[in-house]
Symmetry: C2
Subunit: 350 residues, 2 copies
Amino acid sequence: MESLKIRPQIQEIIDEFLQEQKPILDGVSPAAGQMVDFAKEFLSGGKRLRAAFCYWGYKASGGSDETEILRAASALEFLQGCALVHDDVMDASDTRRGKPAIHKRFENLHETGSFAGNKELFGVGGAVLLGDLMLSWADQMLLTSGFESAALKRGKDLYDLMRTELMAGQYLDLYNQAKRGGDVNESFNVIRFKSAKYSIERPLQLGGKLAVDDPLLNKTLSDFGLPLGEAFQLRDDLLGVFGDPEITGKPAGDDLREGKRTVLIEIAFEKANPAHKKLLDDLFGKATLSLSEVNAMREVLEETGAHNQVESLIEQLFERSNKALFESNVTSEAKNALAELAVAATSRRL
Amino acid sequence: MESLKIRPQIQEIIDEFLQEQKPILDGVSPAAGQMVDFAKEFLSGGKRLRAAFCYWGYKASGGSDETEILRAASALEFLQGCALVHDDVMDASDTRRGKPAIHKRFENLHETGSFAGNKELFGVGGAVLLGDLMLSWADQMLLTSGFESAALKRGKDLYDLMRTELMAGQYLDLYNQAKRGGDVNESFNVIRFKSAKYSIERPLQLGGKLAVDDPLLNKTLSDFGLPLGEAFQLRDDLLGVFGDPEITGKPAGDDLREGKRTVLIEIAFEKANPAHKKLLDDLFGKATLSLSEVNAMREVLEETGAHNQVESLIEQLFERSNKALFESNVTSEAKNALAELAVAATSRRL
């Protein structure tokens, strides 16, 4: 796929960066050096969607410095690494892409080494610190991308905003879940800040800011990126309930077990008849949900029309995004790549 | 104290910065806005040692931009905020400066609001995210301090190294504790990276780098700062065992309960006779240690000579540091302030 052609280069830049960090951590202790190995493994593969949106946001804004933008875009993969590692700690989620989560990796180290003390706490500690490292390395990478200082200043300001929104959005997600949900509007706010802005709108704008100081272009990238990002997260929410474990790398219906207050779920609660309501109240957020219970909940999501409604929301948002892209005056190369990315981010992978 | 005269200004800068962040988080949700209130409370008061060393490292290097260096120095207080909040999560330590730790604050929110789900996990989640915010705000503050770009570049490179060393040192601390300690050398490595460099040497050098590009001066600040930082941490380790809870804000002998593998403890293990050894093996790291058990361990630390040996190490390191300062050719104003800070950082507060 043309729009994702940068993946091998992104991987190379990440690996090279980690290689440079390794001696610093080894210098503290070989035990600390092992954190770099964990990071390297964790940051291998992945879709690189955020890096790609940043890259194409830059291209769409007329940027032409390949080396610089590839390095800046790679920074987003470190930020995402931190978000995922810390997210798994906060959710006590034991797997990630079908493999043990990072806190589990540290727990295993504790177990196989017959270490003293509480292994769970050691796992959490290792994961919190590795996430902190990745968060630190992200801005280090951005600031050493090689752009001139005015471009870096514009980019860093946007990046700062993006980070703060991400963490606030993550917290709102935890909070809404603990408050047993709010309403459809509130769940949309989680989507917007935790995901839509962070995954698509802001990466595009970061690329744009690194290329040029142009508020109008910044607005265009938002008109395209924000609805697309919302559609992307709605698709992800559907996958969390209806997705194939082979593809998602998570057990079937995992979001239902976790009690994630998604737009899908909020709509179902809103439209539920008394029988649906009882079933949702009994099963939603139950950690030990069986497959037949997952299926019963899936039926409620169909019968309330929640599933269909989310599909049609995705379609509307996608159309709005697509329209903004085609009405914009970005280069046709960038237009094609962004259109391709938009499809990749929102297509059915059920 | 002349050397700490910047404290009210640092507080003002921190509060102003948080005030600017507040609408961004409130925009995500008022619930997220509350994180700013927690941060504000957590970052109130404190010794501001790191900010002061950064400030005086700058002055010692001939710097004269007050506004810029005060803001850059304040960044270190955010970094320290992250380190403490995450540290308390990793240690499952419930109090900080005699008040509930941040994860406990989020737990209380969960409890008083009768939220759903596991309150401990919610507490950890909130604290991980607030720490992430503070880590992010730290470099945001540094990069928006107003220095020209060459100074910022020098400063940021040093800052990047400092952050990585800090996290690697924190991990080594967890690791050594889990491995039931290593030896005196290894425990010195923890001190060096987790504390001496991070709390004193690197803040001084950060100030220096922001003022001027002078490798020789950089070396001088290290010759002064590193031994002082080691003495500072050794003093802190003594306080963790012998300190007055009224002053330390922690229960008496808390480090013994936690099983912290400090230099003090490693020396005691090395010098222990069989009776001492048995007592240490039985009691060290026992979470439910009574006051009389704490006292029994304190006696072992006296009888093995570990306490005295650490006192004399502090003295030697302090002398070495002091000599480097007085042989340097920094201005006499900076010399006096740094000498004053050195005493404040290592004096007996038992």
